[in-house]
């Protein structure tokens, strides 16, 4: 007994080593789930606030460009409103307007405070969290197009899984056609992603615009994503694969919009109940 105890005491660093490595691996694997503890990521208050402070200072240097982009976006929105107003005036008397549903999407603005680009699994930290009504699996986009999907949230910060993450999948549609497909990132190239499983019968061309499908209930339909640059065969030759140039410049993300869907829960439970039946 004494000898066993002596042995254990003499080699206690082995046990500490195994314990610490164990903790590291638990952290590593639990991070792979949505909703897991966000204490050890940059959504925690300490890291979030420090990044927020740095980005406050940093933000001044890009104010000019950012203002210009917002002005452009404003201009587009104003012209769109004007066009819609005219449309509305012509429809005023018809009964169609009465049946127009209330928007089920809620929008929120946020600022990116931290951003990684060099990994296979990149993340963006934004400065809004649960206290602002943000929850996981909400969509994030900016004036150029889709940025990503909320992965984890804490009180005042959220972690976004951008399109530049090997685990990210986005349901998309090629504008002008009705076939749906999935956008995945292969790593390495910052500005390019791939549409996989494009059906053979569908006709696409170089330069076609890729937009959100509105299928997944995360994003409203028709938010721009990117532009098809090249069509190629998939590895098994059954489908097409398209190389897509993304509209968003992930190296300079600042102001973003977060979109939540009031009906998402309902749609999800319905879809899950069907899966259970299978």
């Amino acid at each position: 007994m004494q000898q066993i105890l002596n042995f254990l005491i003499k080699h206690n660093h082995w046990f500490l080593f195994i314990l610490l490595e164990g903790i590291s691996f638990v952290l590593l694997f639990s991070f792979n789930n949505y909703q897991s503890a966000s204490m050890f990521t940059s959504t925690n208050e300490v890291a979030g606030n420090i990044y927020s402070m740095i980005s406050d200072v940093d933000g001044y240097f890009t104010l000019n460009d950012e203002n210009q982009a917002l002005l452009e976006h404003n201009k587009e929105l104003i012209s769109e409103i004007e066009a819609l107003k005219e449309e509305l005036a012509t429809l005023k008397d018809s009964s169609a307007i009465a049946a127009f549903p209330d928007g089920k999407f809620r929008f929120n603005t946020a600022r990116a405070v931290n951003n990684s680009l060099n990994k296979l699994q990149n993340f963006i930290t934004i400065d809004k969290g649960e206290n602002d009504g943000i929850g996981s699996e909400m969509g994030v986009f900016n004036d150029k197009g889709v940025v990503g999907i909320i992965y984890q949230t804490s009180g005042n910060f959220s972690l976004v899984m951008p399109l530049l993450n090997s685990k990210s999948m986005l349901s998309c549609r090629v504008k002008g056609s009705n076939s749906f497909c999935t956008l995945r990132w292969h790593g390495e190239e910052l500005q390019y992603s791939y549409l996989i499983d494009l059906p053979r019968y569908a006709i696409f061309q170089q330069g076609d615009t890729v937009v959100t499908s509105g299928f997944s209930s995360i994003f409203p339909a028709d938010i721009p994503v990117g532009e098809i640059e090249r069509l190629e065969d998939s590895d098994d030759g059954m489908f097409y694969r398209a190389r897509v140039r993304l509209f968003v410049d992930f190296a300079s993300i600042d102001n973003v919009f977060v979109v939540g869907n009031d009906d998402k829960k309902e749609q999800d439970t319905l879809e899950q109940s069907i899966n259970k039946l299978k």
Binding site: H13, L20, I23, S24, L27, S42, N44, S116, L159
Partner: protein, 167 residues
């Protein structure tokens, strides 16, 4: 609490900030990222207990992980490096050396110190990148990442050593 522990805690906080706010954002050629906090682990005195080395490595790794959204990856790699450090160091110590010393160019000579650093850093990056990419099928980019990051970090080890050498 001894004064050396306090100095270590101060260095810990300073190095973590410098690491996560500056060095973690530099990716030379898309492959090389320097983890200068390893210098702290390299420079702990010879007689630092294995348990203390493990704890320092783990806490440092965890702090850096927290800021870079890679939970557990740095912690696992730095803990392993802390574990192996004394064994690596032991191969370069010989009789006639003072009982306890801070590893460096002065105490170990340049050659030995650099090889000792190189062994520790290669171990660290090998674990780090295998965990991060989680595959060894793309062996070439993995090796490029390990080699380039090791070289870059070694450069900072040499620079840090030159500064402390002049004192």
């Amino acid at each position: 609490m001894t004064s050396s522990t306090l100095i270590n805690i101060r260095n810990f906080i300073l190095l973590t900030f410098v690491q996560v706010l500056i060095f973690s954002h530099i990716h030379l050629f898309g492959y090389a990222t320097a983890y200068i906090y390893l210098i702290f682990l390299l420079k702990l005195p010879r007689h630092t207990s294995r348990n203390a080395l493990l704890m320092w490595g783990f806490l440092f790794g965890l702090a850096v992980d927290m800021f870079s959204n890679t939970p557990g990856i740095n912690a696992a790699a730095a803990t392993a490096m802390g574990f192996a450090r004394n064994a690596f160091l032991a191969t370069f110590t010989h009789k006639g050396m003072p009982e306890d010393f801070v590893p460096g160019a002065k105490s170990l000579k340049w050659g030995s110190y650099l090889i000792y650093s190189l062994m520790c850093i290669v171990l660290f990056y090998t674990i780090l990148f295998i965990l991060e990419l989680f595959t060894i099928s793309n062996i070439v980019p993995l090796l490029i990442s390990i080699a380039s990051s090791t070289l870059l970090t070694m450069l900072f080890v040499v620079v840090a050593e030159c500064f402390s050498f002049r004192k």
